[in-house]
Symmetry: C2
Subunit: 190 residues, 2 copies
DNA sequence: ACGACTTGCAACGATAATGATGCAAGTCGG
DNA sequence: CCGACTTGCATCATTATCGTTGCAAGTCGT
């Protein structure tokens, strides 16, 4: 019985995953896409989508929860509170990029869901703390605006995730390098 | 007759402008907002919107054209092909910010319209040339990836436009500074 | 082969947005 | 005051999407 249940639930969950991934794919191109289009992209009937997710809202909520979990795991794996700031920064970047490349749309609209929004805010705070550590370690400028720095960091992550080519590690290097040094020379500025 | 025509057309165009601005305001908060909501925000009846714009698509197209014109003028005013690269960079940033703060939504979805898309691509090319001049002048690093630099520039503009507070000049200084120097110190990087 | 479960298909009702129209009322220049 | 023009309001048909349901067919473990 447990075997049966496990097998059946495995099937069901595979379908759910397929739908979630298709939804991400379709909605990232057209946020106003219909359930029909999502179902078609997932290779299932529209009714199947409605059986798994009571409403469109429930679908995006499920997407948000899933992406949130991936997001949090990506951050956790980088040990942003313990590792040396520069190392943590790089690790966070690489790990988050891997998630964001596949879940860009969901991560942009995640804050709508209250549950995901909490995790999102929590991660922002952890990011803030990491930046403080980085500043104290002399990695960030002493006069750096932490909120602005964090938002630039997010923006660079977003931009790097838009290049779907190249491996996450190379992109992470580019992101951290640009975040800390910019793209200019040292000359010519006040 | 010409006086009458001018006065009447002035009224009509004032209404059109009001609708366009309301649409930007509403759609930036909710891209799926209905014509009803847009009309309400503009303080006119829904039918009036439909009289001015045959369809929703036509409305967005008009928004795209208008924002495109503002965008192009903002770039032109900065003389990006003649002024010293650093000066031009700053001027472009400040001018574009002024537009982007009020037309953020439209400028994000502009590429849908073919007409606006052409101007958009043209501006991207002018930006690219400005960056080349900046690199040749030693403002940008010699090994800087120009496409990546441009996209970082765009991303910073986008982020700065999200702060609706603070004057565009101060924001422009921050954007250019971050673009060229980043937020880190010179130490601690390879 | 049996049973539990899932899926596709076809069809349904409900709801909301869209776009069009006729008419009365209003403004404004001449 | 007249005429051109625009707007608001009420109303209409059309369409798309949504969410639900019943039923037949299929899979998979036992």
């Amino acid at each position: 019985m447990s075997g049966t249940t496990r097998a059946l639930r495995s099937d069901a969950e595979r379908t759910v995953r397929t739908i979630l991934e298709a939804a991400e794919r379709v909605l990232s191109r057209n946020p106003a896409a219909s359930m029909e289009q999502i179902a078609e992209a997932a290779g299932v009937a529209r009714t199947t989508v409605h059986r798994r997710f009571a409403s469109r809202e429930a679908l995006v909520e499920a997407m948000a929860r899933w992406a949130t979990q991936q997001f949090a795991e990506a951050v956790d794996a980088a040990c942003p509170e313990n590792a040396p700031p520069l190392v943590a920064l790089y690790q966070v970047t690489a790990n988050v990029l891997r998630v964001k490349i596949d879940w860009g749309f969901t991560m942009r609209v995640m804050d709508a869901d209250p549950e995901a929004g909490k995790v999102y805010a929590d991660i922002a705070e952890r990011c803030e703390r990491l930046l403080i550590r980085a500043r104290d370690a002399g990695v960030l400028r002493a006069d750096a605006d932490l909120d602005w720095s964090r938002r630039v960091f997010y923006a660079l992550l977003h931009e790097a995730a838009a290049c779907r080519d190249g491996d996450p590690d190379a992109l992470a290097t580019q992101v951290v390098d640009t975040l800390l040094r910019g793209v200019g020379t040292s000359r010519g500025l006040s």
